[in-house]
């Protein structure tokens, strides 16, 4: 009781600095989007545009692709999770690591690799119909199924095996027992993963544009580039936001109906299914999946990179590495620095105000990156013209989009710091600021590193906002990949693509270790 009190304590109002930091982040997200909505409303043909056959085709293509990819990801994700956790499949550990590796491959890299292998002029043979729907489906499925796999695996790990055994004791066969006792327990996790996949597809720009499949994001980009019709881009952007919000609202309702998991945690290990003659075929299938998601892109791109090595533009590549790293570092540092005061506001000064700030500050994450970028373009060109066409605005866009990653990481380490430590420090005569420097920030270190690494990682891979906002004449790794792929020059797109993957993997590796290490408590 006594130890919890200070955390709940609604003290005197949060210090001004904290409130200003919170307001700043919220404003950076809300104002551009609001401005975009206003712009869309001003388009005189907004109404007829929304119901025009062309736009309806965009919507249909987006939803169709989203549903297909979600369904495939569900099947693959749940299937592989079951193979890994409930069967005697060989090489379980290796496969488990391999199966989540696709997370470091951005969709545009996956799409590029598919084209570079099976597209026109590709390395292997040409698959008819790879350009368009099926190509986009393949690229997106291969990089999104881990979003289902991961939560389902952790649900399976905590699912109560007693329920399964009870079902078997009641006379169900293994298979029926799985369907009746296990599936209901992983359903919430699978549903949450599926929503992530669907949102991911809604917002994806890289894969669909490389596969030249006309979804809303590609439509927005094309409208925007055809310079004379920017307000119709705004209309499409708002439409995409509405679709996103609908998906989120749907998930809320679905989640409300979910049954709480049985509180008893796993009393014993779940029994594992013997695959018998299917062991090795199952193993081969998972290996094939892992190869398609990670091995294929790396292999194909390495081939193209080597083939084009003699004609490679080394300077452009070095420049892009510098730009990418600089922008991502800037975004990571800024996001983490802002996340500290905002998380203190949200965790230590809970009030209606801080809850609203939290919601608004994290909204940028749910919104498609292209829309955030578009909103920032409009907003900056009108109100912040000195920022327009500078690297600064790119950093702002990254921070708006990826701030929730930093906030989440910092917040989750902040809640583990007992606020009584801060009181102890103050009663020892140290000022708040002094205390933040000597106690809070050192104890937050794990969260700060994790948050910065996450933001760095996602910013490194970011494509749509970068394309829209980067000053003319400069390139990041992502934009180099994109232009090379759009022109079918695989040899030129391959090296930056490989670099993106390599840097992501390099950052992810220490990140994993930081997260595992707990601060002394």
């Amino acid at each position: 009781m006594a130890s919890r009190r200070p955390a709940l304590h609604r003290g005197p109002r949060a210090p001004l600095v904290l409130r200003l930091a919170g307001l700043g982040v919220a404003a950076a997200t809300v104002l551009p989007i609001a401005h975009l909505a206003v712009r869309a409303g001003e388009a005189e043909d907004a109404g007829s545009l929304v119901v025009s056959p062309r736009v309806l085709r965009f919507v249909w293509a987006t939803v169709g692709l989203g549903l297909t990819v979600t369904l495939l990801s569900l099947v693959i994700g749940v299937g592989v999770a079951w193979l890994l956790d409930r069967t005697d499949i060989p090489g379980r550990r290796m496969l488990a690591v391999g199966a989540v590796l696709p997370l470091v491959v951005p969709t545009y890299v996956g799409a590029l690799a598919l084209l570079a292998a099976f597209g026109p002029g590709g390395l292997a043979f040409e698959l008819r119909g790879i350009v368009g729907f099926w190509g986009a489906t393949a690229a997106l499925t291969l990089s999104t199924f881990p979003y289902v796999l991961l939560p389902v695996r952790s649900a399976l790990a905590t699912a109560d095996p007693a329920l399964e055994e009870a079902a078997q004791a009641l006379g169900d066969g293994r298979r029926t027992a799985f369907r009746r006792a296990v599936l209901p327990q992983v359903r919430p996790a699978a549903a949450a993963g599926a929503l992530l996949v669907f949102l991911y597809v809604l917002s994806d720009f890289g894969a669909v544009s490389i596969m030249r499949y006309d979804t809303l994001t590609r439509g927005i980009f094309l409208e925007y580039r055809s310079a004379f019709n920017r307000s119709s881009a705004a209309v499409l952007g708002v439409l995409l936001v509405v679709l996103t919000l609908l998906a989120l609202a749907g998930e809320r309702r679905a989640r409300g109906r979910m049954v709480a998991r049985s509180a008893a945690s796993s009393a014993g290990r779940a029994s594992s299914v013997t695959l018998g003659p299917w062991r090795w075929p199952a193993f081969t299938a998972v290996i094939a999946l892992v190869s398609a998601g990670t091995g294929l892109p790396v292999g194909v791109l390495t081939y193209w990179a080597l083939r084009g090595a003699s004609r490679a533009d080394g300077d452009a590549l070095v420049g892009a590495v510098g730009t990418s790293t600089g922008l991502s570092l800037g975004a990571a540092a800024a996001a983490v620095m802002i996340a500290v005061p905002v998380s203190v506001l949200v965790v230590r000064h809970r009030s209606r105000f801080s809850r609203i700030i939290e919601t608004l500050a994290t909204a940028g994450y749910a919104l498609p990156g292209l829309v955030v970028a578009l909103a920032l373009v409009f907003f900056a060109s009108q109100y912040l013209s000195p920022l327009y066409q500078t690297f600064m605005i790119v950093v702002v866009a990254y921070v708006v989009r990826f701030f929730p990653e930093a906030l989440g990481a910092v917040q989750s380490s902040l809640v583990r710091i007992d606020p009584v430590l801060e009181e102890a420090g103050r009663s020892l005569g140290r000022s708040r600021l002094d205390l933040a420097r000597t106690v809070t920030v050192p104890l937050l270190r794990g969260g700060l590193v994790a948050g910065a690494a996450l933001v760095f990682l996602t910013a490194m891979k970011e494509l749509p906002a970068t394309l829209l906002l980067l000053p003319a004449g400069s390139d990041t790794l992502a934009t180099l990949v994109w232009t090379g792929a759009a022109d079918g020059r695989y040899a030129q797109a391959a090296p930056p693509a490989l670099l993106v993957v390599a840097i992501s993997a390099l950052v992810l590796w220490p990140l994993d270790r930081v997260r595992d290490r707990r601060p002394r408590q």
């Binding site: 102890a424 420090g425 103050r426 020892l428």
Partner: protein
């Protein structure tokens, strides 16, 4: 009481509709260890947090060392109040070693001065050689002493201890308690110790303040509050209390146990209640004694015999363990206490 170090006058604090602290006066003298005792939720922690500056009072004034720190439009932040705190959960900084923790509050000192002050305190709490240990490498009792050394290091005007022993297990508690009292006395510190354990309060406090329902009901020497509680609730809270009602005529209380002569303040009115502590009762095995032995709680060093009087009233008597009182046996009860306290009858009927 020597010089007043901490003085609260009319201090009150509410959280919404909860009146955590009702208008309260309290003083702690220089070098005094004041034990603040009361049941859970009576406002002890809130009172300490008001003194430390983590809460602002709704009314009243707080002075520390003669200096107004809260009230009358003044609010001095905690870092300027020179108040040392020892928390129940210790709150040692996990990323600093023992030396870093103890030295944390030492500002404006050279490195050498700081090191020797840390040494001095570690010697005081008996933890020389522990400088490089981290908090997770300390036992509960050691952590407790580090927390105390850290609070004492800057030479605070007053040390506030909020249930510092409740996270220790029983076997350790008594030793740590004694040790903490010794350290505070050697350091000459003024201290307010919060506890909800009456034995702890009586054993440790130079004076004891009993807090009930957001209000300080009584302040006094341990034997004073124990032997002469101000009312029935205080009596009841501080240890076992046998309360027995009777008719009051000319300063003599006629009860089931015979005539009792209250001393000190004698209530007026036809009926009054006497307080008899269990150790005030003597028993004698008598075949036709008026009381029946209902139960015996045996503690080794002594025993508590539970009796029932003809009226149905149950009494507890604390006696040497030598004599045996079998269950069901009849006994005569005699009052052997040094003096008897009586309260007005209606107070007991609350």
């Amino acid at each position: 009481m020597s010089d007043v170090r901490v003085a609260l006058a009319g201090v009150a604090k509410s959280f919404g509709v909860v009146q955590a602290v009702r208008p309260t006066d309290l003083q702690a003298g220089e070098g005094e260890l004041l034990a603040l005792v009361g049941p859970s939720g009576c406002g002890k922690t809130t009172l300490l947090r008001l003194i430390a500056g983590f809460e602002a009072p709704d009314a009243g004034t707080i002075r520390i060392g003669g200096c107004l720190v809260a009230g009358e439009g003044v609010f001095m932040p905690p870092e300027r109040r020179r108040v040392g705190m020892v928390f129940q959960q210790l709150a040692l900084f996990p990323h600093l070693d023992v030396a870093g923790n103890v030295g944390y509050g030492l500002k404006g000192m050279s490195r050498g001065e700081r090191r020797s002050r840390v040494q001095e305190l570690l010697a005081l709490v008996g933890l020389e050689g522990y400088e490089r240990r981290f908090p997770d490498e300390l036992s509960g009792g050691e952590g407790q002493r580090v927390a105390l050394a850290r609070a004492l290091a800057p030479g605070p005007a007053v040390v506030l201890l909020d249930e510092p022993f409740s996270s220790l297990d029983l076997s350790l508690r008594e030793a740590v308690r004694r040790e903490v009292r010794r350290i505070l006395k050697v350091a000459g510190a003024t201290a307010i110790l919060v506890t909800h354990d009456q034995d702890e309060a009586l054993a440790m406090g130079d004076r004891v303040a009993v807090m009930l329902g957001g209000r300080i009901s009584q302040v006094g020497l341990p034997e004073e509050v124990y032997r002469r509680p101000r009312d029935v609730t205080v009596a009841d809270f501080l240890g076992d209390a046998n309360l027995i009602e009777g008719d009051l005529t000319e300063g003599v209380l006629h009860t089931e146990l015979g005539q009792l002569v209250p001393n000190g303040l004698v209530p007026t009115g036809p009926r009054a209640i006497a307080l008899l502590r269990p150790e005030d009762l003597n028993l004698e095995l008598v075949a036709d004694g008026p009381a029946t032995v209902v139960d015996v709680e045996y503690f080794g060093h002594d025993q508590v015999v539970v009796l029932r009087l003809p009226s149905g009233l149950e009494l507890r008597a604390r006696l040497h363990a030598r004599e045996r009182f079998p269950r069901g046996s009849r006994v005569a009860v005699r009052c052997a206490g040094p003096r008897v306290v009586a309260f007005p009858s209606q107070a007991a009927r609350e």
